[in-house]
């Protein structure tokens, strides 16, 4: 995937590019192209572009990234808390950041929304927002660090995820909590269980003491101050406790899967 990503043209959406290319074809070719797995990879073959990075380099990098996952899991200290800050340190305005513009951010109706709980849990009941709001909440002021390098300090309030996992009878020996979100293109992300059980990992309902605004992930975000920002899901729709590595939106494209801070 990393190899394909490297072929992307900044400012050109790959999905739209593939769609446009398919449109430009005669009907039969288009059907075959789509049936054959329309992808940027297929498109590069079609246009005769050269894939310059060698496959072996890609494999080596992928293996090294897995090795780095293991190293990070090994040095992850479940008792080490992310530094906290005073209110005065909060970054204002806190940046909106996603792979889409704010106008395209998901709009979730809080009245209809229910958090779906699946997988290795005793109680698979779905939770309404009102029910979740009744759980004990704590506030944290921590630094959000983006994979791009910038950082910003924010104030998040919500229920520690480990309390919720206990409440629903999750098998905490499972390897992952896998989150699925309402983002366009279906953002999802796996969170290793050790991090899910970290005291600061939070089901967030408020930002700066106000109901979580749409920009920051209404109705619910998972705040993980021990992970890079892209592993802090917003607009969460469901959580699955699982032993299977189900991949993630960014992880599948080549960002390191553990990406711990």
């Amino acid at each position: 995937m990393g190899r394909l990503r490297s072929l992307l043209i900044p400012g050109v959406d790959n999905k739209l590019l593939v769609k446009d290319a398919a449109k430009a074809m005669p009907d039969l070719a288009r059907r075959r192209f789509i049936a054959g797995g329309a992808s940027l990879g297929a498109l590069t073959l079609l246009t005769g572009c050269n894939v310059t990075d060698s496959l072996s380099a890609d494999n080596l990098l992928a293996q090294m990234s897995k090795f780095n996952d293991a190293v990070q899991a090994a040095i992850f200290n479940p008792y080490a808390l992310a530094p906290t800050f005073p209110e005065s340190a909060i970054t204002k305005p806190f940046p909106f950041n996603a792979y889409y513009e704010l106008d395209d951010a998901p709009t979730v109706n809080g009245k209809d929304w229910k958090l779906e709980v699946r997988g290795l849990v005793d109680n698979k009941k779905s939770w309404t927002l009102d029910e979740l709001y009744k759980l004990p909440q704590v506030k944290q002021i921590t630094r959000h660090i983006c994979v791009e390098g910038w950082s910003a300090i924010g104030s998040w309030t919500g229920t520690p995820l480990r309390d919720f996992l206990k409440l629903v009878g999750a098998d905490t020996r499972a390897k992952y909590c896998w989150f699925q979100c309402a983002d366009t293109e279906g953002y999802n992300s796996p969170l290793d269980m050790e991090t899910a059980l970290h005291p600061q990992t939070q089901m967030t309902f408020k930002f700066a003491d106000e109901i979580l605004p749409r920009a920051y992930g209404f109705p619910m975000k998972i705040r993980v101050p021990t992970k890079l920002g892209f592993k802090n899901p917003k607009y969460v729709m469901s959580m699955e406790v699982t032993n299977d590595y189900k991949g993630g939106y960014w992880e599948d494209q080549g960002y390191n899967s553990f990406s711990g801070s």
């Binding site: 990393g2 990503r5 490297s6 072929l7 992307l8 990075d53 080596l60 990098l61 992928a62 090294m64 990234s65 780095n68 040095i75 992850f76 200290n77 080490a80 808390l81 992310a82 530094p83 630094r143 660090i145 983006c146 994979v147 791009e148 390098g149 910038w150 950082s151 101050p225 021990t226 960014w250 494209q253 080549g254 960002y255 390191n256 711990g260 801070s261």
Partner: protein, 208 residues
């Protein structure tokens, strides 16, 4: 071949190995690591530039942020393991002490003057002049600081005391960038002088 033809002043020095095998192996391993680290680092920098410029995509490695990160976090192991072995061997064999010390301010000034007026002797490559000593000792320190600042950016929670030592996450990024700039400046001088005195390059390849 007589050593006399190479140097009149230090016949014994010219015949002996100037750069032992371990120095040469680690030097070139480090050269590969540092070039990968710098070019992939530029790619990462471009995702969120600290200053009002970006690096041209023609000189960055990885193609996009994710690719740059993969290269950076792969090559860092070569840089760190090789660098650590180099430090341990350099200290244990006494090479650092023998080659890099003493450095005196008056010596640095005198050798800088000699270099700028092309009067600096390159007769004995096994002995560094004061400017070389300063630059080589300095770049080792910069190498240590760039690794430590890099670790504090990578692990600002797990290694939070290290990050705090640099004045926090955001300042650590500037430290990391500054060290990169210093290494690039060093490389310009280092490569230019190696080409000006080709026998020094030969010594780093075949040892003599």
């Amino acid at each position: 071949m007589s050593s006399m033809t190479i140097s009149d002043h230090h016949p014994a020095a010219a015949a002996k190995v100037i750069q032992p095998a371990w120095v040469r192996a680690m030097h070139w391993a480090n050269a590969v690591a540092i070039v990968v680290m710098i070019t992939s680092g530029w790619q990462i920098y471009n995702a969120s530039p600290l200053f009002k410029f970006s690096f041209s995509s023609s000189i960055t490695l990885g193609g996009w942020l994710g690719g740059g990160l993969l290269w950076h976090f792969a090559a860092m192991w070569l840089l760190m393991v090789n660098g650590l072995l180099y430090l341990v061997t350099g200290l244990a064999t006494g090479r650092f002490r023998r080659k890099l010390l003493p450095i005196t301010p008056s010596g640095v000034i005198a050798d800088t003057k000699a270099a700028l007026t092309f009067k600096l002797s390159h007769g004995d490559l096994s002995k560094y002049n004061n400017v070389q000593k300063l630059l080589y000792a300095g770049i080792i320190v910069v190498g240590i600081v760039i690794v430590l600042s890099g670790l504090s950016i990578w692990k600002p929670v797990q290694l939070q005391y290290l990050t705090a030592l640099f004045g926090g996450y955001d300042i650590a990024r500037y430290v990391h960038f500054t060290c990169m700039a210093l290494i690039c400046a060093f490389l310009v001088v280092h490569v230019a002088l190696a080409l000006l005195v080709p026998k020094s390059l030969r010594a780093m390849i075949i040892g003599r």
